[in-house]
Symmetry: C2
Subunit: 255 residues, 2 copies
Amino acid sequence: MRNLKITLAYDGSAFHGWQIQPGFRTVQETVEHCLHKILGHAVRVTASGRTDAGVHALGQVINFRTPSKIPEEGLLKALNSLFPHDLSARDVSEVDPDFHARKMALSKKYVYVIDTSRIRSPFLSRYVFHLPGALDVHAMRRSIEMLNGEQDFSSFMGAGSSVKTTVRKILATGIFERDSRVFFYIQGSGFLRHMVRNIVGTLIQVGRSMLAPEDMERILALKDRTHAGPTAPPQGLYLVDVYYEEENPVCAKQD
Amino acid sequence: MRNLKITLAYDGSAFHGWQIQPGFRTVQETVEHCLHKILGHAVRVTASGRTDAGVHALGQVINFRTPSKIPEEGLLKALNSLFPHDLSARDVSEVDPDFHARKMALSKKYVYVIDTSRIRSPFLSRYVFHLPGALDVHAMRRSIEMLNGEQDFSSFMGAGSSVKTTVRKILATGIFERDSRVFFYIQGSGFLRHMVRNIVGTLIQVGRSMLAPEDMERILALKDRTHAGPTAPPQGLYLVDVYYEEENPVCAKQD
């Protein structure tokens, strides 16, 4: 059996998230259906992690096992001709038999995009969070730095989640502004449910001076979801990269 | 009666073009419906020209008459709160009683975007024409220059069109490449049906060396649609600007 790794990009707008849910269009179901058609056998893929409904991916990583001898390049082309317009395979490669897209991920990088322009662009409603009005990016940057390192992020965990530990390690964060858009990025060993969107919702309150930059530290210490800001909407969020052993482990600072 | 001018931007993907057609979702119908709701009377708007199904606009201009005393800024806000996510009003201003969005347009500028990357982006399928493989942009540029000036463009007129004259004046053209995307722009006194898309279809044949740059001149002289290239698809086309008296009459060269 070969173990194949695929890097996927998708526009999450019309998907009900990554994970299979009967009766809904999900990325996993679409990918498995197309692989089944190409390879001639049922396939169950493992992703680096789920993405919620409306959340996008530029570099989601999956793997699966197959007895098929199809060349990597042939599978890449076949997938891209079968995939719907909002899903693409960026890369296919054969990997070690023990590679596991979720368990072996060292870290993941997310980007969140806020559009602060007064009038929303009709082209971006599915791709950014439109929030008219200036944000204090300098204050947000000070706040973001408090997220770095190994910490308990339970204040930013969405309800209904059960995990062994709420401690995660943040490796890199940053924020930059281009035209009227604010880009926030965060790279970490792992993320709790809605963690990035809850952090963004809190950062927006900092950017609007409803919270002080230092409140981020206080909120983290409280370990209580009710003290953090609201969950930012999914359409601004992108899973950008998943990092594995021997692949640029920490992204360069971009701000 | 006041004469109001509105500049609109829209994502043409989910509209059946500009013009009202019973049973179809069109931009005109959406705009008139929202204006009616806000102003309390039926409104018939005049656009600078139609756009086809799937074609986008960054700066479509319309005008209409109303007895309403609503301030311009108030109407702008009301429209943007009523409009669907794929339509925005960029500007509202009161203009001279004799202003007419179509008759008084001196020129219009269109941009066409071709994405030449090997793997299509799942985010751009509605916004660019994906055409993998290199294009000879230098040859295309030489070809484009032959479009300038006052000429008979009947070789590039779509079927089923009846116009008094097929002569149009092209004021500016250009092409530039950024990353793996090729941007073609054209500004002219007016455009025949499908003219820009037929020109782009021909330019692509030049870019792929199926036609020589000089063939553009030959095709123009033939005045016969069958000699030009195929019609490029609508999703790469943007109506960018409409120019009126005393407003930057010719755009700056961008290539």
